[in-house]
């Protein structure tokens, strides 16, 4: 028999029993759609996470933290890890695969312009480290290396400003504050203790009112690109070049203790600076865990997106497995439906099958005819199921909103795989009924009931 004739025969047989065919196809539609939507959710979730990680400084960054009170389990002070100083940072820089190692010096300041003021933690890093952050500069430039202290503001820092006259925050009015960091002078207060004491009428040991601390004008190097709503890793940060920041702090606090820096037993500050955080850039994602381990062995806490992603990837694999499993079960039920439909149609057509056998229809052709019928059910079920999946996926993305846009993602390979799978399910389900049809006795046809 010709292929075209086989096709014609099986399709007319399907059309003959429209309602039943539609119902069976519906089973496959639901099965396919649930698998595709489930998998698309898994894929989309993974894709959004990847994008977010990409946004938040990539996968080769390792952050090292020092916790003063995270004493080792034995509790003895001898075992306590050394505070991070430049020497320790230099050791970390020597670890293989480390490209950049920079201390992060954080200090709290108050920034003022006109009626507006905001509290910031300035992050001082080396020039090299600042360059390696992959920051998208909107205006100006990154803090320079020439020893002058200049601040670089993240694109969302403006939302921190508070209008001292109206007592309103950005989040109250949702209006951008009238602050021009680039062109108008920015006043910065470094001595926050003195500032708050002067605000609340504190006195020094001689009973004299504390005068408000000195304000410094710190020029702005630049501002990050992006609107007030574009979040990224450094969008809320204010960055500075670390040596310039150190010089400034020494100048401000003279021989007083710098806030956040440790003091000796006599309450005097040490000569060198100590840090709570180190920023490290590794040459490739594959070496991140190796570097992390080396640093952990030195006794410091580490954090990296790569590590976090490994965990989320495992979680997502589980989620995908569960979701895909639900889909697989529904497709399995659909397969039973197909087998049942095919069986029924063979019982109904016993006589017809007998006749064509008497007339000399090849056994293989009979089998192919029924397999095709089952395959058709799978094919159309798969096709409609895919269309439905795209609709559902669109609706999910619409409902999920801005942040989770693309949470349901159907790549082309999923389309192809699910199509092939649906047809295959149909044919496997139709296989035994087809064999049965092939083996039916032709005598059934000529016996007159």
């Amino acid at each position: 028999m010709r292929f075209l004739d086989l096709l014609r025969m099986s399709s007319t047989n399907l059309l003959r029993r429209k309602l039943r065919t539609v119902l069976t196809v519906l089973g496959v539609v639901i099965g396919t759609a649930s698998i595709v939507v489930m998998v698309s959710l898994g894929l989309g979730l993974r894709k959004t996470t990847m994008d977010q990680i990409e946004q938040s400084g990539g996968l080769t960054t390792v952050n090292v933290y020092y916790y003063e009170y995270a004493v080792s389990s034995s509790g003895s002070s001898e075992e306590q890890t050394q505070r991070i100083n430049d020497e320790v940072v230099e050791q970390m820089a020597q670890i293989p695969h480390v490209e950049v190692a920079s201390p992060v010096l954080s200090t709290y300041v108050l920034v003022k312009q006109g009626a507006y003021e905001a509290n910031f933690s300035i992050r001082g890093m080396t020039y090299e480290a600042l360059q390696s952050l992959d920051i998208d500069v909107g205006e100006g430039q990154l803090p320079p290396d020439d020893g002058t202290l200049q601040f670089f503001y993240g694109n969302q820092t403006l939302t921190n400003f508070y209008n001292a006259r109206t007592n309103q925050y950005y989040w109250d009015t949702m209006e951008a504050p009238d602050v021009d960091l680039m062109n108008d002078p920015v006043f910065v207060i470094f001595d926050m203790d003195a500032y708050s004491q002067s605000q609340y009428g504190g006195t020094d040991e001689n009973g004299q009112r504390i005068a408000p601390p000195k304000k410094y004008i710190i020029p702005t190097a630049g501002i990050m690109a992006g609107t007030l709503d574009d979040y990224s890793d450094n969008s809320y940060n204010v960055l500075a070049e670390i040596n310039a920041l150190k010089a400034q702090l020494k100048k401000v606090f003279k021989n007083k203790a710098i806030p956040g820096q440790p003091t000796n037993s006599a309450g005097k500050p040490y000569k060198e600076f100590y840090y709570d955080e180190v920023y490290i850039r590794v040459d490739s994602m594959d070496h991140v865990s190796e570097v992390q381990q080396a640093i952990r062995d030195m006794g410091y806490e580490t954090y990296s997106n790569a590590e976090w992603m490994e965990q989320t990837q495992n979680q997502m694999a589980t989620i995908q497995l569960v979701l895909g499993g639900i889909g697989a079960v529904s497709l399995f039920v659909a397969a039973i439906g197909i087998a049942n439909t095919m069986m029924m149609s063979i019982y109904e057509r016993t006589k017809e099958i007998g006749i064509i056998k008497v007339l000399g229809c090849d056994l293989g052709d009979i089998r192919t005819m029924f397999l095709m019928e089952a395959g058709f059910i799978g094919f159309f079920g798969g096709l409609i199921g895919l269309i439905l999946s795209f609709i559902i996926s669109g609706v999910i993305n619409l409902v999920a909103g801005e942040y989770y846009r693309g949470i349901s993602y159907i790549p082309i390979w999923l389309v192809l795989v699910s199509m092939v799978f649906a047809v295959l399910v149909g044919m496997v389900a139709g296989f035994f009924p087809a064999l049965r049809a092939m083996k039916l006795s032709p005598l059934a046809a000529i016996r007159n009931e």
Partner: protein
């Protein structure tokens, strides 16, 4: 006359025994017969005598319990199911008592069915089927479905379907069983005419002695045994 004596069907010592529970039914109980090319043979007997069993065996629809069946030079008793189907597709036409047309197809498509199984394209096979329908006098009913035709018309479609392949042998199991006597005669005469023109062999089962009278030879069968072979050729020649 020599050419006409070439045997097409040879049956030797044929047995068919059905087991029903613990008892045995001997549907065929040692049959020997030879049918020659171009002959029109009738198998006559009472109900349950084994006529249909005989015919099914000749058409390769049923396996003999014992004995040989040689049709068109081929031993059917050793053939696999696949070979039997191929044998029928190439050598045999079959006419059913209850017509057995496919209800979803019209007359032309029904007649073209055996050609489709042979892998002939739609256009060619429908042309041929159409000619065949003209031959059996159904020019006006080509697009009719079985349920839009009378019994006689349906059986003519059945005849056309059996003949469309130009088979060597045509088997008919009570082809007129569902028709009135007048229509029966018409259909039979038609069959005989077509078969004689093409020197095909026709084997027909009937329990009607009158209809059997159209045949060249009549095999009388009782309880699975051939008891009498009636040769009508001389009689017919005398008649003319």
């Amino acid at each position: 006359m020599d050419k006409a004596r070439e045997p097409v069907i040879q049956v030797k010592n044929l047995y068919k025994i059905f087991r029903v529970g613990s008892s045995k039914v001997r549907a065929l109980n040692g049959v020997d017969l030879t049918i020659y090319r171009g002959e029109f043979c009738a198998i006559v007997g009472t109900s349950g005598s084994g006529k249909s069993t005989m015919l099914n065996m000749l058409a390769g629809l049923e396996k003999p319990t014992k004995g040989e069946v040689i049709v068109a030079g081929e031993h059917l008793e050793n053939m696999s199911e696949n070979q039997l189907v191929k044998f029928r597709r190439e050598k045999v036409g079959f006419i059913f008592q209850s017509f057995n047309l496919l209800g979803t197809m019209n007359a032309v498509e029904n007649v073209a069915l055996p050609l489709m199984f042979r892998g002939i394209d739609k256009k060619t096979r429908e042309e041929k089927a159409s000619k065949m329908l003209d031959l059996v006098g159904l020019s006006k009913h080509k697009k009719h479905r079985p349920n839009e035709m009378s019994g006689g018309q349906q059986q003519r479609v059945g005849v056309a379907r059996a003949l469309v392949l130009d088979p060597e042998i045509i088997f008919a199991d009570e082809p007129t069983g569902n028709l009135d006597s007048h229509t029966s005669e018409e259909v039979l005469k038609l069959m005989r005419k077509v078969v004689q023109e093409k020197n095909q062999t026709l084997v027909m089962v009937t329990h009607d002695n009158h209809l059997a009278g159209f045949a060249d030879r009549i095999f009388h069968i009782i309880d699975g045994k051939i008891v009498k072979i009636e040769d009508r050729k001389d009689y017919k020649e005398e008649e003319q």
